[in-house]
Symmetry: D2
Subunit: 325 residues, 4 copies
């Protein structure tokens, strides 16, 4: 029995398309069927929704009932203000009218979270950015985001907003791009119910060190939620957690423990060509394996090795603890 | 009146979606309407189709008539064996049954090209590759591709196949990934009607030098067709040609002239948030501008500067020729 | 006569080596000879030193006299706490003893700046970072940097410290890595004589937008000095300014004017294989050319185009203003 | 007792500098002292020299005696035509006079190899490339390389030349840049004593898959020697083998066995801040660990998993075999 509580986004069981396969790599399953499938994954105890795609004003009671039936918890809900073409030049930086719609959309998502018995939503601004030079008034854009975030946060204090940064996609450059930028913006927004959802794949894509990002957020009391996956550092591939980055994911696990993170270990994977339940299971197992290696070395011993900073020495301790030889 | 003949893909006027906006950034226009719009772009004299999306067994007569009405030429047709979910683990490397279907699909596309009065199709293997370690038998994959390409080429000699490489997307790693790899494979395939469609955005993404890629293909007599666009070197953004890379695009234009390229300057852009016709017009104008700078410096003089290889000297000649100061 | 004042680092005329050519690509010139050569560059009115390499306790009077003779101004001095092997695991994060030495070194550099009649030094922490996972206590490292910077700043108020971030080199990961991270740290340090020296090559390497970085620093009143060069976005190539990035460098020039930057346009180039004076001249000319294009379009008009955000439209205005066609 | 024979370059025990620390991160040891230290590394049975830096006309008898004393074997010698400033614009592409010197240099290196009882040298062209657009006649450069390589190869058949590609450093772009390009060039050169030294860090930097590169070279009968290390995929960090890339290095080990590679597992690491002998030991141990995991899964079983290509399934087999949970 793990000390960690794991959740996954229902989108993992969705149709999962891309710009070449717009109709999806599979048919996908309905939200209620996806909840059923999630409930069968060993170790998974929560799910994450998307508003309005699979949780909305019309179906939330049904969704809540499905959670009760299965025993799964509401972990969070992604407030989707990126996928409707109307946001294509930005949800919060493309003019007052759109911004007001985006704020209202976010408030409704917060209300739905509360109805579901949840305490948080996640939020990202994937269309707020630029593709070409001379296309954005950077300062005005940042001001608009700060103000809109304040307005959202002030809607109700009992629901937290986790802001998820991403360097790019779909825009080539996004305003809310990496850990220090998001920290800087949220300190300026200055509201107690605002924090960060760290998507570690976005952290890798931003050429950051995952463990360092966790440390920075914890230092600023902003670590609210996690989105865990893996990639090849050049794009948000949303792969099985820990499958590509071994020591870095293990170091991420170590720092989540070190800063006393007690929230969800939230999966955010897009298994385009893999069975979604199997990809979820493997993600959890990789994290449990890395935590087992941490325990074999010893949590305190790892701290001493870090303090000493001798890479060859540290590797000579971790390697045999990991592989047994 | 330009010495260069420009074409564009009809997909530029399509709905253009991505994995977050699966329904498209716009409604898009029908193939026949797109042909009408293309015909209004100054300097554009050819269009490129996609089989089976906008050119197929059912509509080719209609498409041919639309070309005749507008005076536009058939430039090429993209043989799409990447977008149907059935190819998700590869069109030519995922087993004999799928491979046979992909070969048959390609042959039909060649036949359609001939019916349209064309002499070539374009072709890429975007799903043939791998995402994870230990997922591919690399040697077997390459053998399968070489054999399948031979079979396609042998179908009919009067239609050429332009192979378009791409390092990644949708697969994280694609077999046919860059200029030297494609050259190597095509030399092994060894058929006279096989060549390369160089998508310069893919060249940039592969961290190659566009002009060098043109030179290499010309040295091997493999330069068949071009797909022109621009990006930020980390992803296939399919932006307005020459808008990001100034000297490199100018150097590309120079080498296309130097190797005596007489084919289409084929646009391949995805103006998600821009007017497609305006993006096409600007792409053509950028290329004409860069060619004008080449002429101001003098084609011969550029050759001398290259032979000398003194960067500061070369820039001191090109810069004022470009900007007038 | 330009409105901008340009400076260059004396290292441009140095021997310039790398890990394969440790003895340098050329013999290089002495500091006093380099000052003479700098004085002959049209448009250059200031120079930047390095302490202790070419400005130190022993030679500063000589250096000051050379400036007076030539009429060049002291622009800044780079406080080098990265090149002595003793700092190889960090100058400020590798233990108290080394940290005290680094602080003392910095204070001496500030004193020298004052003796030279200058008002600022530049400063970077290229060895403070990590190469391997589990090698750094990230939070402790940041705390050490914040405290050491306060101690330096408090030494004397009449000399400003410009902190220059860099994502990597020589360490694979550096603590002070990009624009938002540096902004965040300096806000925490909270001293009036601390600001940022933006090295735009480091900005490009961090996958940021140069103009956006300028805007962010100006919003936070932290833009103190500039280090200008160009590169291919994957490494700090320190090439001729504006030679690779056309529209982005032009946009950088525009934002420096827009935020009312009145400081030095400070070159920081490493012309390993080029004549250093010619590389300096070309860098200045590229910046003047781009400013000329800004003026041709019109500063106000550019602001309107940015506010509108239609890339195809904006390009259709800038392109002919730049290239005359 | 391992089935693999390991060698390391003497430069690992050198002073190891970079452009900021030109005098080196340590004093370094003399070649004969380095041989002594290498002899103490468990599992190491060969060393690699550099001509003329640590093996040359004057000292080769001494070096040979040192090998005999220690029992170490001559693995290879790096023919250094990159570090003398005279090659700064290229050794084989910067004019006839320099090219002749480079060819003569290479021939002498081959002779020395024979005197040492060796059968091969390694060779790279790190200065043959370009930094700026319009700086190279790409086709002429390639022709010059092909001809010079033929001349070197024809010098004597009993010494093989292993060509080591590298995408960049010190030049921003190098001609001999990646696996397919090198394969293509060597097929054109067409000499039996020419092959490839694959530096897997260069493979990673070129965004290739290490195992795929091995497969491609083996398909073309060009795999002559290996240079093993690790990095973060953006630069040639020359780190401890297998410390960053877990599954990819394991897959590399698998394919070296699969293609029947019987040559040296040659380390090429730059432990700037680590003890060189400890870094060597850890590199060997990581490779032995990964081979142990291969054996736990079973070599045949891995082949079956690859043939099936189901990533989640494959990971579910490898993960517990690696970590025991």
């Amino acid at each position: 029995m793990s000390e960690r509580k794991y959740s996954n986004g229902l989108w993992t069981w969705g149709k999962l398309g891309d710009r070449f396969v717009l109709d999806g790599y599979r048919a996908g399953w309905s939200p209620s069927k996806a909840i059923e499938m999630a409930a069968k994954v060993p170790g998974l105890s929560g799910v994450e929704f998307t508003y309005p795609n699979d949780l909305n004003e019309k179906n939330w009671k049904e969704a809540k009932a499905a959670l009760e039936t299965t025993g799964l918890k509401y972990a969070s809900c992604y407030n989707n203000i990126s996928s409707d073409p109307k946001w294509q030049r930005g949800a919060m930086t493309a003019g007052k009218e759109l911004r007001n719609q985006a704020v209202a959309h976010t408030k409704t998502c917060m209300d739905l979270a509360a109805e579901m018995g949840g305490d948080k939503i996640t939020f990202s601004l994937l269309q707020d950015g630029w593709d070409y030079p001379f296309q954005s008034d950077y300062s005005a854009g940042r001001r608009a985001i700060v103000e809109a975030l304040r307005e959202c946060a002030d809607h109700r204090k009992d629901v937290k907003i986790g802001v998820e940064y991403k360097m790019r996609e779909p825009r080539v450059f996004c305003y809310v791009c990496n850990t220090p930028m998001t920290t800087l913006l949220l300190k300026e927004v200055n509201r107690p119910n605002l924090g960060v959802v760290i998507d570690v794949g976005h952290t890798l894509m931003a050429r950051e060190t995952m463990a360092d990002a966790i440390a920075l957020l914890a230092e600023n009391n902003l670590l609210l939620h996690t989105h865990l996956n893996d990639n090849w550092r050049t794009w948000d591939d949303d792969m099985i957690v820990g499958s590509i980055h071994f020591l870095e994911t293990m170091e991420l696990m170590y720092w989540l423990r070190r800063v006393g993170y007690g929230g969800w270990y939230g999966l955010d994977i897009f298994p385009y060509r893999e069975d979604p339940s199997k990809a979820t299971i493997e993600s959890i197992r990789f994290m449990e394996s890395y935590n087992a290696v941490i325990d074999r070395v010893g949590f305190e011993r790892l701290g001493e090795l870090i303090a000493r900073g001798d890479a060859a020495e540290t590797l000579s301790v971790i390697r045999p603890a990991a592989f047994g030889v």
